[in-house]
Symmetry: C2
Subunit: 760 residues, 2 copies
Amino acid sequence: MNNLFEIDEWKIIQKGFDPAKQKQAESIFSIGNGSFGQRANFEEKYSGDSLQGSYVGGVYYPDKTRVGWWKNGYPEYFAKVLNSCNWIGINIEIDGEQLDLNQQKVLSFYRELDMKTGTLSRKMNVRFKNGKEIEVESLRFCSMHDEEIAAIRFSVTPLNFNGHVKFTPYLDGNVMNHDSNYDEFFWEEDGHKVDVKKGYICSKTKKTNFTVSTAMRFSFWMNDELLDIEPNHISKAFYVENNFDHYLEQGNRYTLKKYVSIVSTINHSENSVISRSINNVRQAYMNGFDYLLKNHISSWGEIWSKADIQITGDAAAQQGIRFNIFQLYQTYTGKNANLNIGPKGFTGEKYGGATYWDTEAYCLPFYLKTTDPKVARQLLIYRYNHLQKAIENAEKLGFTNGAALYPMVTMNGEECHNEWEITFEEIHRNGAIAFGIYNYIRHTGDDEYLVQYGRPVLFGIARFWAQRFNWSTARNSYVMLGVTGPNEYENNVNNNWYTNYIARWCIQYALEVNENLKSKPGEQLTDQEIEKWNHLVQNVYFPKLEGTKIYLQQDGFMDKEQLSATDIPENQRPINQHWSWDRILRSIFIKQADVLQGLCLFEDHFDLETIRENFDFYEPKTVHESSLSPCVHAIIAAKIGRLDKAYELYLRTSRLDLDDYNHEADEGLHITSMAGTWLSMVEGFAGIRIEKEVLVVNPLIPSSWTNYRFQILYKNNPIIISVSKDQILIENKGDQSVNIELNGNLSKIEPSNKIDLILT
Amino acid sequence: MNNLFEIDEWKIIQKGFDPAKQKQAESIFSIGNGSFGQRANFEEKYSGDSLQGSYVGGVYYPDKTRVGWWKNGYPEYFAKVLNSCNWIGINIEIDGEQLDLNQQKVLSFYRELDMKTGTLSRKMNVRFKNGKEIEVESLRFCSMHDEEIAAIRFSVTPLNFNGHVKFTPYLDGNVMNHDSNYDEFFWEEDGHKVDVKKGYICSKTKKTNFTVSTAMRFSFWMNDELLDIEPNHISKAFYVENNFDHYLEQGNRYTLKKYVSIVSTINHSENSVISRSINNVRQAYMNGFDYLLKNHISSWGEIWSKADIQITGDAAAQQGIRFNIFQLYQTYTGKNANLNIGPKGFTGEKYGGATYWDTEAYCLPFYLKTTDPKVARQLLIYRYNHLQKAIENAEKLGFTNGAALYPMVTMNGEECHNEWEITFEEIHRNGAIAFGIYNYIRHTGDDEYLVQYGRPVLFGIARFWAQRFNWSTARNSYVMLGVTGPNEYENNVNNNWYTNYIARWCIQYALEVNENLKSKPGEQLTDQEIEKWNHLVQNVYFPKLEGTKIYLQQDGFMDKEQLSATDIPENQRPINQHWSWDRILRSIFIKQADVLQGLCLFEDHFDLETIRENFDFYEPKTVHESSLSPCVHAIIAAKIGRLDKAYELYLRTSRLDLDDYNHEADEGLHITSMAGTWLSMVEGFAGIRIEKEVLVVNPLIPSSWTNYRFQILYKNNPIIISVSKDQILIENKGDQSVNIELNGNLSKIEPSNKIDLILT
């Protein structure tokens, strides 16, 4: 695998312009601040192949469902992430010719995403057809300090001439979604206004009535001197611009500073969004670019101080892990309970929706260990807020009495996926949400949350499972029929081991929580429920391979032709691009960890031998055609001491998008799987486990690395872990003592103390 | 269940106009001639709710596939039956007011479909807003004698006035499909011309380039006197008309005779269709209406002389069975190897496609016994012509070496269905085609067909099955994973008993045919194939319920909650309208005969006790939500002596559309299931079985019937079977002696002889 761009520990760097890489670069150099985000489209016109993308968190359009054959229960719509007002636009024109890298000769080109500062910059020299050459420098950011602000500094320096240049900063709300079922335009105008050096557009989504106001102001500078200009202004529906001709002198740098504010009804009332966006840009304009930038960088500094992982000895791995952490924080910061973590974040439209089970299974542990627990709590409150919708969703499928089935994909709590084998059957997602609650509690001990928010969600989920199992007279057990497990290369199977296991666990945990919180006000399980559920948890059927410790993925798994992924000819990989769906289903090949996913979540329920035996059975059958798969295998491989395998799997995940393994980075990045990468570092190599009163650490280090070092939050105590081949250092930066089990040895570290284990 | 229309042994009659029944009536009163067909839309303008439909056999549009989530292997398009040029149009206008039953007062209304003569007629009195009253009489037919001709006789009699009436006969090709994935218009114009008393439109389908020329001529009469008129003529794209005002005298009858010819590139070259259609209508015009009608009626007489079933003592049953026979012959006559039997025939657009497994499983036995064997042969040749496409279809799914998988739905041999659980998995259809070959051979002994056409198809099908089974080490048997059986309320199951059974039988039959035809030129199986297949047929796994004779529908069937259809609350029926898809899948309820379908096809492989035990197991679980289901149960119920049950199930099927049980007759009729109804009479009540050298008859008669009587062809000998409660009469009208086993007693009937069994 060749690296798409330059390797650097803190930066993504592109040297030289390559139109063929433009869409990939637009994804990879994306910036965002958890509230909105922007692909790395150019500020100036670009007529080459590009995917324009500005996204505002939580703003969606209910795109009418498109199916060939309607099945009862399908949702009416799919919530599409919306391409919204293009706020970066600055056109440059010399003698009637527009700056457009698809047209001019690009003499030099340098693009940089600085992950430390969260800034995207560009520097390039361009020769126009008339021979005039300019240098362009730009820098932009979506403020991590003020979630409604973005700013651009865009400079032009004439290199070989004096002459007029036309500058046109604009906002353009007339944008379509690439991914639209019926080629509809999703917006209607809700007003616009333009004046000298300022303007705004307010757009409203059809049907959902989300209102987004985008306002701009700008100033114009020669070197450090503010210039007085009198721009023309133009406006039409969904569009405002200023434009002005200025006489530029060779060698001087002329700079537009464009301030933008994006305000939506996600956070504010409809009648306040326009005025708020105008006030925001006025304030930003008055504070100035450097001030905004300083605050922005400082906010990123805060994040990095908690979340960074330093790897010494492997710059590609260092860049990879930071890229994953960076993108996760660009996507979600936990400031708003209406937002969640879309699979592509703010880097593309694909998949739509904002919330998958990825959030609880992959992202939650990342935020739990790298930032204030409020962030993880916010993600869980999001699900609490959708509980009623989840109950309605279950009712549509025939469940009763408060059973809750959370949707596979959602923006507002309503299901919007429409493949029956996923929508109705990939119900293990319900288990991941319950596990998220459990995980949050063991990290934080936040009983107040559990009483008020966690418990009702757990009960709804457990009620669903209790009804979803049915008694099989033939097996004298409870069975679960017609499900799709995490391995989506099986559909409509019976007794998927993972689903049966997590379902039973949910019911057990709900019973336990009910018992523990008996004295707290709020809902309690009925005696009938308790009795039935106790009978159920003792009598669930699990498919097993006789004479072994292997749990079978589902009923009938051993009837398949027993092959290994190495039997698949290279030119037929990935099989999802080469094989018909039925062939994939019939084959033994596993898209994504399934039994191993369960063993990973519930590792403490199983002995090492069981884990090893199952890993050896399933890993050779797994084709890892989901970005969520290799990390789970990496964690288990590390657990059972297969360091080389763990490292191989880690490599698959950590630079997935940076090196575009799957040839789809042009469509956007795999945001949620980035949390999986992080997990394979922290739970995999470092062997971190959170137990009720003990922080377990069993670290390994790949042979090519000299050291890695990171901090996690354990019961809100920052713990530094540093691993070298000959030394393991664990430092308690918190204010409480912490129990540590390092390589099996239990000890207590007092605040500001450390363990320094020298390995021989 | 109330009858929608009047009961009559030979006619469907509607007395009184009811706009709410108009779309149902349009379907039920449809006429066709196997080559084209027409819903019972009115000739004159009708502004009320209506589904306009003129269909030309074999002419389709490849409507771009609409799915939410693309899966590898999905077809690019769905072949849509096309609504084509409206040829019936005759507008009538009095003093600027158009005749339109949605506008005027309908004083009387009588509509009749005479099944004996294949004519649709209407007689009605209408009062215009100005008080003028007219009587309208019309009669039309699609000539069964000349498959390119239709004719309409349309009369107006002024009842209370003398005055001008405007007549506008026209052709209108500007028609849309109701069922279109992206609201496209499917036609382009390929020319039109209009002149005095004549005109044509030639339309071409986009993409597929089918060309259809529709030509008309007409004459105008007062009573029996041909009138000389000078009509105006108008034309525009897709439209030609003549119009003329005529002064009508009270009490006289003024008649338009409109002759139409529809000629398409299904039968003729593109550059000949226009001239051919023009020549056809000229000839028809010269021959005159009565002559065409006489020939048409005589052709229907021919059909009825072979295919009629007479039931005495139950007029509703009599009407029902004739309606089924009538519609089947309107849909398919066997004249053209490019045509087949669409599920809605020429009565609606729904489902698209022309060819499902219904053809071989249900329709073929009907044609085999009611008309010249050439017709059934034509249906089988159709599949032979698609063999290469079936091989390509299998290749797309990963099969090799000439394995053939026939499509679930097709117009031209290519698959056009796009639900993976059907398209890729409902592969039992392949078995039905092989069974069709076997069935044809046992009826006809046509070895010449078998050598040249049947054998290669059989080998392709058997090769598919041989690859589709896989060896299960766990079971030490061949298993078949991931299929959907005839019961589509299960998807992606393992070891569907029916599919395993018919698949194994196909391989056995292919081996047998290979052996028998060894000496004939043509393809032979390789030694390797013979060896592998012999091993396979001896080692196929079949799920069974231990300790019983019950074959389990699929693996895991006994894990379901064991319920009976009577446990479903009435307000939740049909479950496919009330339950989500996953709930249906998990439930034990069966949409359509599955194991019983196999026992029905291969009845002679099983003892009576096995059939009875399986019937008692499955019938209570079957909700019969497919129109193809009750007939199979009826046949088996009769076989095991459950006459009341057989009669109950027969009632469900025989008047399905006439009484609109499923509230969907407005969309068109269930043409292919009509053959199932016929089977439940002939194989059910009459107990007819075709064995190699014996015609088996085991008749029963429902208690409310006095007698039923029909003819079947057995080795091309017409055999009359007449059953009363106290007498069974079997007469050989052929020219060869025939072995008959009547109620277990074997005898031989010489030509022109009969058996007359008096029952005591």
